[in-house]
């Protein structure tokens, strides 16, 4: 009986996915309104702020193209700095979106419907930010097309045996598949906006974008199978993309990088940081757009549980790396790890451990797992920690085999400007999305209402 008292539900019953007694029509109204109503002041101000960072990004990239990568803090052992750190960080952020939309779909986790649209959008925007870094870091950016297998005047083809080229394929295919998944999910909702449109412009634009969707079962039948297939093939992508990114490191012979734990460890970290970003965005969107009925505390709690699990995986990976460094008997390997914890970058290492291993432990306590303020702060700390995780890994370069070549990497103002600018780009895209595209998948949320079931009420 105590179970009933605590949750207000009988044992074994699931909490309602959507609260507030919504009907099909009220869902369409509530979500479409966000797109249809006048632009709010809060939106304009946040867009202005985010866009000013995009200008900063454009400026710093422009100067980079003009002057070359010498404007960054790179030096001889550390040939990769913020560019790769930011790349791995942003690719990782994307993973929660795919996990929510694909893996949870296959596992029939119906709670995903309230959060899948904006976590998928987050994936797209994060991958755009990610793709930018390898593109701009090449130095001679005007020959970036050399990474694609395009016939060129030199009769030259890319080297398919290089993990860096695998990255090009893995990340751009990941982007394409995420985009298709996102867009297919949008078609029925764009049709809703088309059918509600009052102005000619809106009728035209949404008419074009919704492809003439008629929601007939002959269409739903193909649609649902296509969606299922997209979910099924995006699932191995969740695992493969970050594994391929990690092989950039793992196929090298730098101590601390040349390890087989990298692919699973990177994937767990990616999902961990991705959920943290979904959490930060969900908490804000839910508050500003009044979406409490759709994104309930139960949704947030479930995400916190995933963060707890993946946070522990990441913590296990840190411990395992240390153990193997000692157990392998390789002096270079054990030096690399002792140096991480107690060397010149010890500060970054301990920020990483605090944010990624200690902070998620808060979520063992049910009350904290369900307190919005706690999860918001924790999610931001986790994102900071996960950025430092990539920083710590890359900084293994600073002290390699030869003490004579050791150096200390310090970012310049341009490194920082590009990083901050990439956040500006991410938030600008996200704000545009929140303004012009339905934030929550209306057709999917309608389908999880109890009255959507044809057997509801025992009439059938």
């Amino acid at each position: 009986m105590s179970v009933v008292e605590k949750t207000g539900l009988p044992p074994g019953a699931e909490a309602p996915l959507v609260t507030g007694g919504h009907t099909f029509a009220s869902i369409s109204n509530k979500i479409s309104e966000i797109v249809e109503r006048k632009t709010s002041m809060v939106w304009l101000l946040s867009f202005g702020a985010a866009f000013s960072f995009v200008l900063l990004l454009i400026g710093s990239i422009g100067y980079l193209f003009w002057e070359g990568t010498g404007i960054w803090g790179l030096n001889v052992p550390v040939g990769w700095g913020y560019d790769i750190v930011n790349f791995v960080f942003w690719v990782g952020i994307g993973h929660a979106g795919t996990l929510i939309s694909a893996v949870l779909f296959l596992f029939r986790q119906r709670w995903r419907t309230s959060i899948n649209r904006f976590s998928e959008s987050m994936t797209l925007f994060a991958v755009i930010c990610a793709l930018m870094f390898p593109a701009i870091h090449v130095g001679r950016v005007w020959v970036i097309y050399w990474v694609f297998p395009l016939p060129n005047q030199m009769g030259m083809w890319p080297n398919f045996r290089s993990p860096l080229l695998w990255d090009v394929f893995a990340v751009s295919i990941y982007f394409t598949c995420s985009f298709l998944f996102w867009y297919v999910g949008l078609i029925p909702d764009l049709a809703t906006l088309r059918d509600r449109a009052v102005t000619r412009v809106r009728k035209f634009v949404f008419g074009l974008l919704s492809f003439g969707w008629r929601g007939g079962n002959r269409q739903w039948k193909n649609y649902e199978l296509a969606y299922l297939i997209l979910a099924g093939i995006s699932t191995p992508l969740v695992l493969s993309v970050h594994s391929v990114v990690s092989t950039d490191f793992a196929t090298s012979v730098i101590p601390g990088w040349h390890t087989t734990i990298f692919p699973p460890y990177f994937v767990a970290g990616a999902i961990f940081s991705g959920f943290a970003m979904v959490m930060s965005l969900a908490v804000v969107a839910r508050k500003l757009l009044n979406l409490h009925d759709f994104i309930t505390v139960d949704h947030l709690e479930k995400m916190n549980k995933i963060m707890l699990v993946t946070g522990m995986m990441v913590g296990y990976a840190y411990a395992c790396e240390f153990f193997i460094a000692w157990y392998s008997g390789s002096i270079y390997e054990s030096f690399a790890f002792i140096n991480r914890a107690f060397g010149p970058y010890a500060w970054a290492y301990w920020i990483m451990v605090t944010c990624n291993v200690l902070v998620p432990q808060l979520f063992w306590v049910r009350k904290w797992r369900r307190t919005v303020a706690v999860m918001f702060v924790a999610s931001i700390l986790i994102n900071i920690g996960m950025w430092f995780e990539r920083f710590v890994i890359v900084m293994s370069l600073a002290r390699d085999y030869l003490p004579s070549s050791w150096d200390y990497y310090k970012p310049t103002i341009w490194d920082v400007a590009t990083l901050v600018g990439s956040f500006g780009l991410f938030f600008t895209l996200f704000l545009l999305f929140a303004r012009f595209v339905p934030m929550i998948a209306m057709s999917e949320v309608k389908a999880v209402l109890p009255q959507a079931d044809p057997h509801h009420g025992g009439t059938h």
């Binding site: 009907t23 695998w166 394409t176 008629r214 269409q219 649609y223 199978l225 296509a226 093939i233």
Partner: protein, 182 residues
């Protein structure tokens, strides 16, 4: 109707109250021998394929074949560029080091299957479609909001507007409408 302006009749629509009623009505429409009809709803309704007597979707075959093509193309492309057209010795590896080519092959398989699933779905659904006769109906637009609508289309061999209207009345349809336009 067809006196002064020659209006073409596209379909007859009827609305049903719930997804359960739509499902039952679909079975009756199917049993009455109509073939060119569709059940429009704001979300997919499970069990509707059987109720309408529809075969399984073919999207899977299209996605499978295009995925296979993507994978074969990926392996062929890497073999041809790395060992035929532009052979370069890299770290003493063989020209056709297929192990290194698995990742791009895998990626292109996924890409092929994803494009196949989406393009195949659009093709089988005859999308993008700029206009459809049902869009002449104001009430039809509510399918994307909260309405459950059956439309029997004019190219059905049994189509005769008045008879269809009466049939819808007998099975409990509401807001029955004969859709006609230019």
């Amino acid at each position: 109707m067809a006196t002064t302006t020659q209006k073409r009749v596209y379909s007859v629509l009827a609305e049903f109250a719930t997804s359960g009623e739509l499902l039952k009505a679909a079975e009756k429409v199917r049993d009455a021998g109509y073939r060119k009809f569709d059940c429009h709803s704001p979300f997919p309704i499970h069990g509707m394929d059987a109720a309408m007597g529809l075969p399984r979707s073919k999207v899977g075959y299209i996605a499978g074949i295009s995925g296979l093509c993507g994978g074969l193309f990926g392996m062929w492309m890497q073999w041809w560029t790395s060992s035929v057209d532009y052979p370069v010795v890299i770290s003493g590896k063989p020209y056709f080091s297929f192990q290194a080519f698995i990742i791009v092959t895998f990626g292109l398989t996924i890409l092929g299957a994803a494009l196949g699933a989406v393009v195949g779905m659009l093709f089988l659904n005859r999308l993008p479609q700029w206009f459809h006769g049902n869009f002449y109906s104001e009430n039809f637009k509510r399918f994307s909001d909260d309405a459950f609508i059956i439309s029997i289309e004019s190219d059905d061999p049994n189509f005769e507007p008045e008879r269809v209207r009466k049939f819808f009345e007998t099975i409990g349809g509401r807001n029955i409408e004969v859709v006609a336009g230019e």
